[in-house]
């Protein structure tokens, strides 16, 4: 009748449904099987995000842009915070673009499981897809804000001169890894403890202050500056400035530390998520 049944590519192995105990494998293969669902959920998030808003996708730009304006007035103009020789608005906006991507991804994914209760209680699929989709769907916003960033660079006549630009995707990946890692932890916690919803705004607020967005990390002396990289967003922000604006603060060691920290958060987050996954349908 159907082609799928007529020519099975392979005999499916027996699926064993049994109680699991403690830590369980990530089952990335299972995740790969469901990649199309991931695609559709990302696509849905993007399509729906700015439906019935007057300003539409402009919102993706407004948030970082006005933060930049406020930072430039208070930190750059009044407090005279140094900016590694870069015009302050550009200096802060280059950091705010990846930061906004990170922060939105973090808060969206933290609430993603609780917001998908009907899906979780009615259909099976690897639950990792839900926070993954909410982080990935932020990439469209990022691209929009990034175009504005390029516009500001043109305005200041400061175009990337070095080959370092090719590393940009890697820094975006680092931001994504961190966002997803923290998102996995918080979304899984949020299912059982709804306190998380109230904690997330604090986390992003404190994290923003702990990240060199309005100030340069060059304010710190070595070895503290490298250790500062334990906050993965330090690596992301300094990486963006280095690759785009050519700041000569040589963030190599910072980025290495940040990458290790981010991967650690992601891996522990994924395992914690998988461990809690079996309770989701009963608690959400």
């Amino acid at each position: 009748m159907s082609s799928a049944i007529d020519n099975p590519k392979f005999e499916l192995p027996t699926l064993r449904i049994a109680p699991s105990q403690g830590w369980v494998p990530l089952k990335l293969k299972d995740l790969w099987e469901y990649r199309e669902l991931l695609y559709f959920l990302i696509w849905r998030d993007i399509k729906v995000r700015y439906k019935q808003t007057a300003l539409g996708a402009t919102w993706a730009i407004i948030q970082p842009f006005f933060t930049m304006v406020v930072f430039s007035v208070f930190f750059g103009h009044l407090a005279k915070v140094p900016s590694d020789g870069i015009p302050y608005p550009l200096f802060s906006f280059a950091a705010l673009v990846p930061w906004t991507f990170f922060a939105n991804g973090l808060s969206q994914s933290s609430n993603s499981l609780v917001g998908s209760g009907t899906l979780i209680t009615k259909v099976y699929f690897p639950r990792l897809i839900i926070p993954l989709a909410s982080v990935f769907s932020g990439i469209v916003d990022f691209v929009l804000a990034f175009i504005v960033l390029l516009g500001i660079m043109v305005y200041y006549g400061l175009l990337p001169t070095t080959i370092n630009v090719i590393w940009l995707p890697l820094f975006l990946l680092l931001a994504l890894t961190t966002s997803l890692g923290v998102g996995l932890w918080l979304s899984a916690l949020n299912v059982e403890y709804r306190d998380v919803r109230h904690i997330v705004p604090f986390i992003t607020q404190f994290w923003m202050l702990a990240t060199p967005i309005g100030y340069p990390s060059s304010l710190l002396q070595q070895p503290w500056r490298t250790l500062y990289g334990l906050n993965p967003m330090v690596g992301v922000v300094e990486g963006f400035r280095w690759a785009l604006l050519g700041t000569n603060t040589a963030p190599g060691p910072i980025i290495a530390v940040s990458a290790v920290a981010a991967v650690l958060i992601l891996v522990t987050g994924a395992f914690y998520f998988r461990r809690m996954e079996k309770t989701f349908a009963d608690l959400v």
Partner: protein, 441 residues
């Protein structure tokens, strides 16, 4: 394929009581609990309890499923029946991997898809077209597969004109039709279905059941949870009866359904007054029991719409009592009296003379008479125009259940309290007039 499609072995699921109502705990509670745990342990040791985990027994649990085992062969359609809360849905949720069992295991051989709700993941802001793709992929279809069946789905749902309208502007009927259309085109080897047919108008339900029948005939393995016993009878060759989380019975559908009907888990089928002081009546006559029974005079509370049932009134006559009669009223669930029947309607009733002793007066209500539904019995005893001896209102309830009699072909409930079978005649009118014309020719 000699392998079983589904093999379930000792499957159990435990829930914390209240976990479903409250859904989640707050961090403060958890911290509190964790911080106080050592104190509680010490306290319980002091009390000579010896059990350091004493506080754990306080958080009560219940078994939604306990030790369920069965097998389903490939190509078999199995119905799962049972009362609300018996654990049917929990069973399907475990088999579709939404929640984990607490004990036991299940082995699945083949591609499995579950349908616990139609329209899962539908987004009101997206158009019908977009929702077909989204919902299809949520149910486990591949994009090429959805694209291939797209036109078929749209035609099935009868929404061609509105396919690019956001579904929030759909009528509820259109919404459900679209949702079912996507689900109906799932192509798994094993399909788990939970009561999703209880949606839409009668016309569409018919279509859905037809589609389900096709699926069963195509040789898929189907596990089908429903309260519509008629649908189960029609679609499933065998059935499983789950009661209080346990497997009560598994076997051929007809047999399981009839045993399920006669079980009367909710209604006992009998009301008995064992204490003579409390029993309704007078010094001359006392009511002992009121009972509903099936054609074999076995006490029951659930009846097949096709089969007869008896109303039995058991009483003790303490003194000679002339010209008295027992009677009952049949009352619909909304209180409407459907009929009254009395032994006085029998010819020669006023000639019967009853010695003191125990009696049962009973009569039969034929099968294919009452419609599907819940009914109540009110019994009385009186000497006509003289006095009432007892009158017990609504002392017993029973169910008449759909088993697919008159509506075997159509999954609809006919309106009305009774539903007797009448003989229908057919006359052709136009043919005769043609014949007349031929004569005049």
């Amino acid at each position: 394929m000699s392998k079983t499609a589904i093999k379930v072995e000792g499957l159990s699921k435990r829930y914390r009581i209240g976990a479903q109502q409250r859904g989640y705990r707050t961090l403060r509670e958890k911290l509190n609990e964790t911080a106080l745990a050592p104190f509680r342990a010490v306290k319980s040791l002091k009390n000579g309890n010896g059990n350091g985990n004493g506080h754990k027994s306080k958080s009560e649990t219940f078994w939604a499923l306990k030790d369920i085992s069965f097998e389903v062969k490939p190509g078999e359609a199995v119905g799962i029946i049972g009362r609300n809360g018996a654990g049917k849905s929990t069973l399907l949720k475990i088999l579709s991997r939404i929640t984990e069992p607490t004990e036991g295991y299940a082995d699945i051989n083949g591609r499995i898809a579950s349908l616990l709700e139609v329209g899962t993941g539908f987004h009101p802001e997206l158009s019908g077209r977009e929702n077909i793709f989204l919902n299809g992929s949520i149910l486990g279809m591949k994009r090429v597969e959805i694209r291939k069946k797209f036109d078929e789905m749209v035609a099935f749902a009868e929404i061609e004109k509105f396919i690019d309208t956001p579904v929030k502007h759909y009528s509820s009927g259109m919404y459900v039709r679209l949702a079912f259309a996507v689900a109906a085109h799932l192509d798994p080897e094993i399909l788990l279905v939970d009561e999703v047919l209880a949606v839409g108008d009668a016309e569409f339900q018919k279509k859905c059941l037809g589609k389900m029948g096709d699926v069963a005939r195509e040789g898929r393995t189907v596990l089908f949870v429903s309260h519509n016993l008629g649908a189960i009878n029609r679609l499933c060759g065998s059935a499983i009866w789950v009661n209080d989380g346990k497997l009560q019975m598994a076997g051929e559908t007809e047999e399981v359904v009839s045993r399920y009907l006669s079980s009367g888990a909710q209604f006992s089928g009998e009301r008995r007054w064992s204490n003579p002081v409390e029993a309704p009546g007078t010094d001359e006559i006392r009511l002992l029991a009121v009972r509903i029974s099936n054609g074999d005079r076995e006490q029951a509370a659930n009846f097949d719409v096709r089969r007869p049932l008896n109303v039995e009134i058991e009483y003790e006559l303490l003194a000679p009592l002339p010209r008295f009669r027992t009677a009952f009223r049949l009352v619909a669930s909304d209180g409407t009296v459907i009929l009254t029947s009395s032994e006085s309607s029998n010819n020669g009733w006023d000639q019967t003379n009853r010695e003191p002793g125990k009696y049962t007066s009973w009569c039969q209500i034929p099968g294919n008479f009452l419609n599907v539904g819940q009914f109540g019995i009110t019994v009385s005893c009186d000497i006509p125009l003289v006095r009432t001896l007892f009158f017990v209102e609504n002392c017993l309830n029973f169910h008449v259940e759909e088993t697919g009699s008159h509506s075997r072909r159509f999954p609809e409930r006919w309106p009305g309290l009774i539903c007797p079978k009448f003989d229908w005649q057919l006359e052709r009118l136009d043919r005769e007039s043609v014949a007349c014309g031929a004569i005049s020719d």
